[in-house]
């Protein structure tokens, strides 16, 4: 895509946003009446003009510099995998543009647009990702990976009276664990690349700071009618050297599709949980857990982990994950496979361990290896990786994937594969 087309695309997005705002304003006027709207419009500029830092009046320049910043990157990735005796390839270009802008004192805008273009085997057969015993009964329809143009996040932040209100597609990501985050409700991590970026969530949230390291956040995540929209409350505190948080949420999820493809109505999932991170005997440790109630099922999830750095700067990570929803071993039911494939559940097994080692090697290289292990069915996935900081704003990453285990086990059917990714930042 050329710069000109990018500009055109941005202009179209801006125009669509403007039309959306105009429609929303019209709806607001119809529902709330003009006086209420005028009141809101009057308050926003007042909030915007209020000093952000009453105790910094002596010097406006002492606060971190306020600026409009445009950054981004261009990424190219080639991936290939072999499963069930068949090689597939998938190639993508991804262009991301990030914007941070101050609209006035106490009013901020952050947004990022992503264009992602795919080539190669874009038709994915679901049965290739399921064990033979399950695939036989699954709809043979293929999933087509299409080019995507989307807003990764776009939100407005207002800070009236100490409360921070964020409206729009925003980051609602939580959890102290490295890979398995039971408290992550909306955008689960890619277990094979847990540090890869994730999309925001359309929401309205308010955060009330209660000291430097404590706050309370409430978020409303519109999804269908009010009844089925997500509601989340989270509080966090720093005490005795530990970061501690508690979370309560009600989100609506589609129960896992049946093998026949029958859809069912969304059901409420209640989640109570929290996390903790800190240091014990010099080791970095973390714990995270939830209790869940969903469509008649009740289960707990918990993660416990720690890290250790050897004198040569090799970083070791270990994490154990308990999933009360999972099974002690294979075979796993078809619905479980589909739920996991859809990213609704983090594991099929009841216990999964993650171990990883990572170290810098020769200037700008970094070598790593991670492993997901399901001791219940004896399967594992090995993920070796090499990262090369090719230049100041250029990085190359190569990741592999080797599956170990029999067909029908959690990680045993992935075959072998990997990707090479180059990214240039601007």
């Amino acid at each position: 895509m050329t710069i000109g087309r990018m500009a055109l695309e941005l202009a179209r997005v801006a125009a669509a946003l403007a039309r959306g705002l105009a429609r929303a304003a019209a709806r607001l006027v119809r529902r709330a009446g003009l006086p209420s709207v005028l009141l809101v419009l009057a308050v926003v500029p007042l909030a915007a003009q209020a000093p952000e830092h009453p105790d910094s009046a002596a010097s406006d320049s002492v606060a971190p510099a306020v600026r409009t910043r445009v950054t981004g990157y261009l990424e190219h990735q080639f991936s290939a995998s072999r499963s069930r005796g068949r090689w597939t390839q998938l190639d993508h270009d991804r262009l991301r543009a990030d914007l941070v802008a101050r609209a006035g004192r106490g009013v901020w805008l952050e947004a990022a647009a992503v264009w992602q273009l795919y080539r190669g085997d874009t038709r994915v057969r679901l049965r290739d990702h399921l064990p033979a015993s399950v695939a036989a009964g699954v709809d043979t329809t293929s999933l087509v990976i299409e080019d995507r143009h989307f807003v990764n996040h776009a939100y407005l932040v207002l800070s009236p009276g100490g409360v921070e209100i964020t409206a729009g597609k925003q980051y609602l990501t939580w959890g102290a664990a490295w890979v398995f985050n039971p408290t992550e409700l909306f955008r689960p991590k890619d277990l094979f690349e847990p540090t890869y970026e994730r999309e925001g969530v359309g929401a309205l949230s308010a955060r009330l700071p209660l000291g430097a390291l404590s706050d309370v956040l409430v978020a409303y995540v519109p999804d269908g009618p009010f009844r089925t929209s997500g509601k989340v409350a989270r509080a966090r505190h720093h005490v005795a050297g530990f970061d501690v948080s508690a979370l309560a949420a009600a989100v609506y999820e589609q129960p896992a599709a049946t093998p026949a493809g029958a859809a069912s109505a969304p059901s409420r999932r209640l989640v109570l949980g929290g996390d903790l991170s800190g240091e014990v005997l010099g080791l970095g440790v973390w714990a995270e857990g939830t209790w869940n109630d969903f469509a008649g099922d009740r289960w707990a999830e918990a993660t416990l982990g720690g890290n250790y750095t050897l004198p040569d700067r090799t970083l070791l990570l270990v994490e154990g994950y308990f999933n009360g929803w999972g099974r002690p071993g294979d075979p796993y039911p078809a619905a479980a496979w589909l739920a996991r494939l859809a990213g609704e559940r983090r594991s099929l097994g009841r216990f999964v361990a993650y171990v990883a080692a990572n170290r810098p090697v020769r200037e700008v290289w970094r070598l790593g290896v991670g492993a997901l292990v399901n001791p219940g069915d004896g399967s594992a996935a090995l993920v070796p990786s090499v990262a090369w900081e090719f230049a100041e704003n250029v990085e190359l990453i190569a990741n592999g994937l080797v599956s170990i285990g029999a067909d029908g086990t959690e990680y045993g059917r992935g075959g072998v594969g990997g990707f090479v990714r180059g990214r240039v930042y601007f």
Partner: protein, 252 residues
């Protein structure tokens, strides 16, 4: 050098009163003078971190930082594009990093503090630890010497508590300006871990500051790192909310 007296541990290194009269000072008095002079109420700084690779390549990162007292620091990288928007918060011994493209803050804890700070020879531990030299180390004067033509006293320091990053230090302190000009940092085993050289000492108000620090990590043999202050202001008003998790995650 009191290496961790830098913004987010990287800056504001040891300094001392401009007053001289050092000939008869004891080792403890030297440490007390260093500590006394490093107790800066607030500082704002713009600086760069340059990682030099043995192959001849350099990586330059620029950041802005704010510090209040000895326990609160906030730092934001402004370049290169790859790192712009990455932010760090330190409150006491606790440290967090905010990753802008993930939209999440992460606690840096335990042994992860030994990892290189943004790939440099400085570790996160260097950045988060802020010992009181007089309280945390016992010192003896090894000898008197000269460094770059300046009179120095060479101190041998031994940690008083076990959880400090460096169990032993050897520090060359300029006895006229009370600025450390060189420091060697050791593990408990006696192994040399890092060597630091401080230069470009400038006077700010009634203090002397090293504006340039060269760091060589003996275990990270492929690199050396230069820390260079581009701009420094003392006594600025820094709002309390800068040193909060909310600020770390929003940058405003």
């Amino acid at each position: 050098m009191t290496s961790t007296r830098m913004t987010v541990g990287l800056v504001a290194l040891a300094l001392a009163c401009a007053r001289a009269g050092s000939a008869q000072v004891t080792a403890r008095e030297v440490l007390e003078r260093l500590d006394a002079n490093m107790t800066i109420r607030t500082v704002r700084m713009r600086a760069e971190l340059i990682v030099h690779y043995r192959g001849g390549d350099d990586r330059t990162m620029t950041f802005e930082s704010w510090e209040r007292g000895t326990d609160q620091s906030f730092l934001e990288f402004t370049s290169p594009a790859r790192d712009a928007g990455s932010r760090f918060l330190r409150q006491g011994d606790a440290m967090w990093i905010y990753l802008p493209r993930v939209g999440k803050s992460v606690r840096i804890q335990g042994h992860m503090l030994r990892q290189g700070f943004m790939g440099s020879d400085f570790s996160y531990g260097d950045a988060s630890e802020n010992p009181s030299m007089a309280n945390d180390y016992d010192a003896v004067i090894e000898r008197r010497d000269t460094v770059d033509g300046r009179q120095v006293v060479v101190l041998s320091l031994t940690a008083r508590r076990p959880n400090l990053s460096y169990s032993r230090r050897r520090t060359w302190v300029d006895t006229e300006r009370w600025v450390p000009l060189r420091e060697e940092l050791f593990a408990a085993s006696g192994r040399l871990l890092k060597t630091m050289t401080l230069s470009d000492v400038r006077r700010l108000a009634d203090r002397w500051y090293p504006f340039r620090i060269e760091l060589d990590d003996a275990l990270q043999t492929e690199t050396t790192t230069t820390f260079r202050v581009l701009e420094m202001r003392l006594g600025v008003a820094v709002p309390s909310e800068v040193f909060t998790l909310r600020y770390l995650e929003s940058g405003r």
